[in-house]
Symmetry: C2
Subunit: 447 residues, 2 copies
């Protein structure tokens, strides 16, 4: 009997606190988690205990938020955080974002490959272009056009992969008796010259246990699809509903096929947030508490919710601790431009108070389940079996206990349902993702 297809899980590490705005203020959280590497290591170990395929650290090289009420969005330095985790874990994959716009390909190639060798083949590079003007300004640059940024990204990835392949796989002879450390005939310059980037090589680093790091991608649009189709084995996507997720996944698979690759060699991970309680009410209470830290944000959120369901909602005109009045509910409709609106309307119609509808995370930038472990597992099962994704990139609401809850309470349910593996399939990230070995550039991209 063919084994049932299983989902994959990536744990998003964010900046040490969790996805929610006020997670840093929750009792139990280390307020200085931002600078505490132990926390990253601890959560990565938990994720490894839960057999997560990988941890994932997103990044933008800029201070992009108001640090008054809020914590930074990214770790102080993603590569250093991954290095700490690499030393203290054995199986879990280690993926970080590094901008193709504001890093030299040689430096990218070197640091990721070194980490890949050190971690015995567990590393992935999420290759993204940077479109944030604050980030550009940190490099004395203006934001380039979308086309230009993607042209740079193609050059960057091709140079990086060529550098990764600049030692033939048997070049490292390590012959102590014969006095031959490496075979220099098998270590050659790459001499790639693009319009934006160029590099001679070789990189002074031997192959890793998986050959070289896995390429991830996260950008949208036609340009993102092409980049993913050509190079990526994993894609972090942010769909709001099953339908758009499925479309995106199919588009990714078609793009891979267009570039001569097996459509199954590209895995899509859907962003997903959770708040776990022993009852749905307990999970909601957790999120109400998070919301309560920033009462000044509530008027905006109520207005935003109103715009999703076609109503002029305001804290002055409604009691947010009550369900919406029947006459208002009759006028409400889901904004067709915002896939999250259906969920918002559904909860309002169920008679939840406005505060509780907000607490369900309907205006978050990922789908949110606030509920019991079974409810979380149900959501993941529904999406996965509908072909919405190959797995999930999960973000805990509050990192300090959210990761442990997911690992201890949700993972066993998924395993019991045959939806998630009980053991790592292999030693490397490629093996555990089920994507093929690659060394150097793909032949298809050798032009």
């Amino acid at each position: 009997m063919k084994k049932r297809k299983e989902m994959q899980l990536a744990l998003q590490m964010v900046s040490g606190y969790g996805a929610e705005f006020s997670a840093w203020r929750m009792p139990g959280t280390d307020p200085a988690a931002y600078i505490n590497t132990d926390g990253y290591v601890e959560r990565a170990k938990l994720a490894e205990k839960g057999k997560f395929q990988m941890i994932f650290i997103a990044d933008t090289p800029a201070l992009t938020v108001d640090l008054g009420p809020q914590t930074p969005s990214f770790p102080m330095d993603p590569m250093l955080a991954l290095m700490a985790v690499a030393r203290e874990t054995k199986h879990i994959g280690l993926v970080a974002t590094l901008s193709t716009t504001f890093n030299y390909p040689y430096n990218i190639a070197r640091q990721f490959k070194a980490l890949d060798v050190i971690s015995q083949g567990r590393v992935g590079w999420n290759a993204v272009t940077t479109s944030d003007p604050l980030a550009a300004a940190n490099f004395g640059a203006q934001i380039a056009s979308r086309k230009e940024r993607y042209d740079m990204a193609h050059e960057s990835i091709q140079i990086v992969q060529a550098l990764w392949g600049s030692w033939e796989s048997d070049a490292w002879t390590l012959d102590v008796e014969g006095g031959k450390f490496a075979d220099m005939d098998k270590i050659q310059p790459i001499n790639l010259q693009g319009q934006y980037y160029a590099s001679r090589g070789p990189l002074p680093i031997p192959p890793s246990d998986q050959g070289q790091p896995v390429i991830f991608q996260a950008g949208g649009g036609e340009e993102g699809l092409e980049l993913a189709g050509r190079y990526a084995s994993g894609v972090y996507a942010n769909p709001y509903d099953i339908e758009s997720a499925r479309e995106h996944r199919q588009a990714l698979q078609q793009s891979a096929a267009r570039f001569g690759r097996n459509p199954d060699d590209i895995k899509m991970y859907a962003g997903f947030m959770f708040s776990i309680g022993s009852t749905e009410e307990e999970a909601l209470e957790r999120r109400r508490q998070l919301m309560s830290f920033n009462p000044e944000e509530i008027p905006n959120r109520v207005r935003y919710l109103g715009s999703m369901v076609g109503l002029p909602l305001s804290v002055h005109s409604v009691d947010i601790d009550q369900p919406l009045a029947t006459d208002m509910l009759k006028k409400a409709y889901a904004n067709p431009m915002d896939p999250r609106s259906h969920r918002a309307l559904e909860l309002l119609k169920k008679g939840l108070s406005i505060r509780d509808v907000l607490a369900h995370g309907v205006i978050n930038y990922h789908p949110v389940v606030a509920g019991t472990p079974v409810q979380v597992a149900d959501f993941l099962e529904e999406w996965f079996l509908a072909g919405a994704c190959d797995g999930f990139s999960v973000v805990p609401d509050i990192a300090y206990d959210g990761v442990a809850d997911f690992v201890e309470l949700v993972v066993p349910i998924l395993q019991d349902r045959g939806l998630f593996h009980r053991e790592y399939e292999g030693k490397t990230l490629r093996e555990n993702m089920g994507v093929p070995y690659q060394y150097g550039r793909l032949k298809e991209n050798n032009n």
Copy 2:
């Protein structure tokens, strides 16, 4: 009574094997030490046990040697190696080279500052320009003129230091009750615009325990002196003799004074190599063995030695296992252009065989002592008391046992002679180097 002035020690980590060409082939050495982070951590711990002020990782972003007979000169990635060491040590300083020519200042500032925060104030940046054409080619560039490279370095260091100071020292409020993570009025852009580099900032990283990383410098010439005088608290220098070392140190101190700094706030570390044996003969035998791995190199070395003492030496005309014949010795003279020649001639006149003169390391790029722990300590004492340097940047011949030997056998002698501390003076690298706190740019450089 005033405490006797003590020397400082930095341990050069090289690429995992040791300074000598063939160290990777010595029995006991892990032939794969290049990719084994454990080795770096282990040696750093030994150095910490020996109260070394710091470890130091040099770097050039290129494969610069023939990996047939030889190992790489630098670790796969210096910052990742330091991160591993940071997690598993408590006191020792962590210094690495990163090129000002081929890294964006924002990326340098971010990674070093993150490591400085993580290590609780133990980090230093050796800011060097890159003049190696192989390295330039890895970045698609030609080597810029010396002037241009140093102009870039000034801009890079000033931007990096300004980014490091972009949070006022009390900006990180971490007020959980009041819901104020940081005081955004005290986190400001730097808006520096140079000819080569620019950055807006701020860097999203709070002050470290020592404020910010310590600047090191290693370049020579007038440009190097100016760069050091303006910014550096530590300088790695490579003098061959006491006289030139003393001159260089005085020039550094004068340069610091010229830029309004206390001359004593710049510390010079002289590069130094050692081979330790329980007798001088045992130490020499260790080096003879190292030489024996590459017999094909011996003819070149003999010729080179000849050129140092004005003789046309060749393996075909002399027996290298014999002392030089008296009539040849009479014609020999020390090449006035090469300070190492005096030592070479002295050893030849003592009647050592040519092989043994070479084994003493007379043609190495640092002074070498092959001898007993007392001989090593005598050398360090002589240089230090002569004012040749503030300390030494020591490179073991063979890393796997050389570091332990130095720590266990040489350090106690230095301590007993009152030449080296028995305990770390403070918690941060600045405190242990005895250099002042600095945060942001120096006022003198704010122009």
